[in-house]
Subunit: 240 residues, 2 copies
């Protein structure tokens, strides 16, 4: 437990900035929010408070993620510990899904972390930051191994593909639900718990597909067989 030694003035400001930045990033997108706006929204008269406490914007993003990873990693380790030898696919997939949904449910409403993750996923460089921070943890590696052990006959490529699909689904389904919650719009699921059930079921469905049904032809062929097809649709005038 890295217990906070003493909440100095600076650490409180940093926490405030992280809070505000997470919200603004989730709402407007990461690239669209300036450090100035974050500083102002955090009540910092200072122009460059963000630049002072965090170096680059990527560092700020990392700080935002880190505030959440510990709780999720802890929950993931818990779920893994509950598994016994009879653990089946559903249980292991739950170790992917539940840490996220449970964490979102545990945060004070309204939450922003779901949409923030989706936004960070849009920027390729930041996506790597997220993957490193969230998916590179020890518990996460154990889950990946567990899934591989349950599906030993799947080619490595297919396992990677399905892992990526699971990640995409978890990130964007939770983000869309969080967004709908915030807008007061209809959601397919009533609670985060139900959302976890739906996500787990879907990801199980993906992993249950037999290998040959999704088999690659393993062709060395490169892409784009007819690469010079003209772009037919005429560009219509749009403006006033």
């Amino acid at each position: 437990m890295t217990s906070t030694p003493r909440p100095t003035r600076g650490s409180r400001t940093r926490a405030l900035i992280v809070d505000v930045a997470e919200r603004l990033f989730a709402e407007r997108g990461i690239a669209a929010v300036s450090n100035r706006q974050i500083g102002e929204a955090a009540g910092q008269g200072n122009n460059s408070a963000v630049g002072y406490h965090f170096g680059t914007k990527a560092d700020l993003v990392r700080a935002i993620v880190r505030r959440h990873t510990e709780a999720m990693e802890h929950r993931r380790a818990e779920l893994i510990a509950e598994l016994d030898d009879s653990a089946e696919l559903r249980d292991w997939v739950g170790c992917l899904v539940r840490p996220v949904t449970d964490h979102l449910a545990s945060l004070p409403a309204p939450t922003w972390f779901g949409r923030f993750l989706a936004q960070a996923d849009a920027e390729p460089t930041l996506r790597q930051v997220i993957i490193d921070e969230v998916a590179g943890t020890p518990a996460m590696r154990r889950v990946v191994e567990g899934l591989a052990r349950l599906r030993p006959h799947l080619p490595e490529q297919v396992r990677l593909e399905r892992g990526a699909m699971a990640r995409i689904l978890i990130v964007h389904v939770t983000a869309e639900r969080e967004s709908a919650l915030h807008d007061g719009a209809a959601t397919p699921r009533a609670t985060w718990d139900d959302t976890a059930r739906g996500l787990t079921a879907a990801i199980c469905g993906i992993w249950q597909v037999p290998a040959d049904a999704a088999d690659t032809t393993d062709a060395d062929a490169d892409d784009a067989p007819d690469a010079d097809a003209p772009r037919t649709a005429p560009t219509r005038r749009e403006g006033a």
Copy 2:
């Protein structure tokens, strides 16, 4: 066929702007690219060429999408026409997946449309534009009806949820593959055709999950049972 009547000077410029904008949006994100940058990259000395030809940025996004929708819609109608009464789940799901992957395969490499779609998906307002343009077409509605007919026992909520999951997977899996292609990185699939196979198999897996396995408890309960849990992780200093 809306045959181009005469490629005037303006229409050529517009097409060029649309080209350049699609690329820049895909690379850097939509909010991060200014109209100025697009105009300059398109060789327009004019500051506000983009503003002149297209009104707002949303209009430009719509124009970019429209250049692709016709081909995809046509392909989707083709695929539907090939279906007979014996059509099963895999065939209908193919009508979701193939129009996108086939279209990407038909474009001259490198393509940008996949990443562009993913970027547009990040901005909530633009996502609605995309959904309206791509998912609101006649052929698309027929596919949704076809899927519903094959899974009549699924609650409407679950059908909506799985439709959203299919959309998310198609958009982001193709975007990540396109991105990897562009970076020369490894891809789980060798060709767009293989990608379509993998996507179709996964989405079929999702739709094959029985309803009760993903059933909602249908609770009226609102969210966040313990909404005031503290955010435990201490914010560590990041900067230099």
